[in-house]
């Protein structure tokens, strides 16, 4: 049951990400649903499941992108592992730590992806506008996304 629930969540979030980035972006800026969902699940789920979600969502992003293939899979897996390690020291169940975490990770992910793209493909994918605005948008979105996944896990027991 949980496995089907996981696949359902994976597909729903992937579609939501596609919808947001294609139809609800303003000046090429849209809330990154995948990113916030990946961090939410890294906080909420057991590490193996969370790692699987993050890796495959990373692959999904790589498939959709034009830059270094495998970069997002690597970054999201590392990000999930980092959250798994740090959640023992910090309480990420509260909105403020979540906002701070997402903001810091957004910037780090941008820079890391930029570095990988430059190393492997000589393509510079970073747009300053996105770098400065998207972390803020993601941070503000995070508590709501987390609340949804929290509800799915604790109340509906889907995850």
């Amino acid at each position: 049951m949980k496995f089907i629930g996981n696949i359902f969540v994976f597909i729903i979030v992937s579609v939501a990400y596609w919808l947001f980035s294609n139809h609800f972006s303003f000046f090429h800026i849209a809330p990154n649903m995948l990113f916030t969902a990946a961090i939410s699940l890294a906080i909420l789920l057991k590490p193996v499941t969370a790692l699987s979600f993050c890796f495959f969502w990373g692959l999904y992003m790589d498939m959709m992108g034009i830059n270094a293939f495998g970069a997002y899979a690597l970054i999201y897996t590392l990000m999930c592992y980092a959250v798994h390690i740090s959640k023992k020291r910090f309480d990420f169940d509260m909105p403020i730590p979540q906002i701070v975490l997402v903001f810091i990770l957004s910037v780090l992910v941008f820079l890391f992806h930029q570095m990988l793209s430059l190393i492997f493909t000589d393509v510079n994918p970073l747009r300053l506008k996105v770098l400065f605005v998207e972390p803020l948008v993601n941070s503000l979105l995070m508590p709501f996304v987390f609340a949804i996944f929290h509800y799915l896990k604790r109340k509906l027991k889907i995850l």
């Binding site: 990373g58 498939m63 034009i66 899979a73 592992y81 990988l116 492997f120």
Partner: protein, 289 residues
């Protein structure tokens, strides 16, 4: 218990290591053409906008020629569709230009037959709230236009009076029309060149008054400008009699409706006749004194 926790940690590390290795493998080693093809098609279906940008050449790297041809064909198709759309708009525009050109050629062919010296001008503005009052033309004092110059127009082979220059600026002028309420002039009709007063009504039809009851007037009779008119040269067609009010007699005069020769609504260009008033009429203020 401790063993279970330890094994759980090991599994986590193992899974993380596997995923990281796969990601690094994908990143470091060049992916096969099949992976690139699948990625290109997958991304193309979900993110069509991605392929229209400058990055498309990079995006189509390392994929088999048949797949790249497929994607390039679609890009080409979209580009050509946009081009066809633009060309259709240009074609429609060209059609209107050809029509306008034919009309202007006709007018130019017609103007040498005019017995008056003058210049053509284009109507640049008609007042929508009162189109029978006045309009602006695109020539002014820079082209030698002066106040009270006669304005005529042609529609097909027909030439008729339109109005007179009322205000002159450097590059444009205002024309007061014969249909304007303030307009009045003397017109003649019939073999005997009977005179009558022509007045504008602010509507399509003009008013003919002061027609003697003995006058030889009939429906569809042509009315021209009179030689006794100070403002207009004689012999310009003003209109045709459309209705005679023989019963509405005032002091032995009858009235009639006059349909202007040139409908104000169809003209796009006008011809300004360069005709100065007699010297003694130049200064209206002097005239009023």
């Amino acid at each position: 218990m401790l063993k279970a926790i330890g094994s759980h940690k090991d599994i986590t590390k193992t899974v993380a290591a596997i995923y990281l290795s796969i990601a690094c493998f994908l990143l470091i080693f060049p992916s096969s053409k099949l992976v690139y093809s699948v990625r290109a098609l997958f991304s193309y279906v979900l993110y069509p906008a991605l392929n229209y940008g400058a990055t498309s050449e990079f995006y189509l790297r390392n994929i088999p020629k048949n797949i790249s041809n497929l994607l390039k064909t679609d890009q080409e198709n979209r580009r050509l569709s946009a081009l066809v759309e633009n060309n259709t708009i240009f074609l429609n525009y060209a059609g209107t230009l050809i029509k306008e050109n034919a009309r202007l050629v006709k007018l130019l062919d017609l103007s040498p037959s005019f017995e008056w010296r003058g210049t053509w001008a284009r109507i640049i503005n008609k007042s929508p709230d009162n189109c029978y009052s006045s309009f602006f033309i695109d020539k002014g004092s820079d082209y030698g236009i002066k106040v009270n110059y006669t304005v005529i127009a042609a529609h097909g082979e027909t030439v008729g009076l339109v109005g007179r220059i009322f205000e002159v600026y450097n590059n444009f002028s205002k024309v007061v029309l014969i249909t304007d309420n303030r307009f009045s002039s003397v017109g003649v009709f019939g073999k005997e060149e009977t005179e009558s007063l022509i007045e504008g009504r602010g509507a399509e039809l003009l008013k003919m008054s002061h027609i003697t009851i003995k006058a030889d007037i009939a429906k569809d009779m042509d009315v021209f400008t009179s030689r006794t008119s100070i403002l207009f040269p004689q012999g310009i067609s003003i209109g045709k009699v459309s209705k005679i009010y023989s019963k509405n007699m005032v002091m032995n005069f009858i009235e009639a409706d006059l349909l202007p020769t040139i409908s104000i609504n169809v003209i796009k260009e006008v011809y300004i006749i360069s005709r100065d008033l007699p010297k003694e009429m130049h200064d209206v203020k002097v005239l009023r004194k």
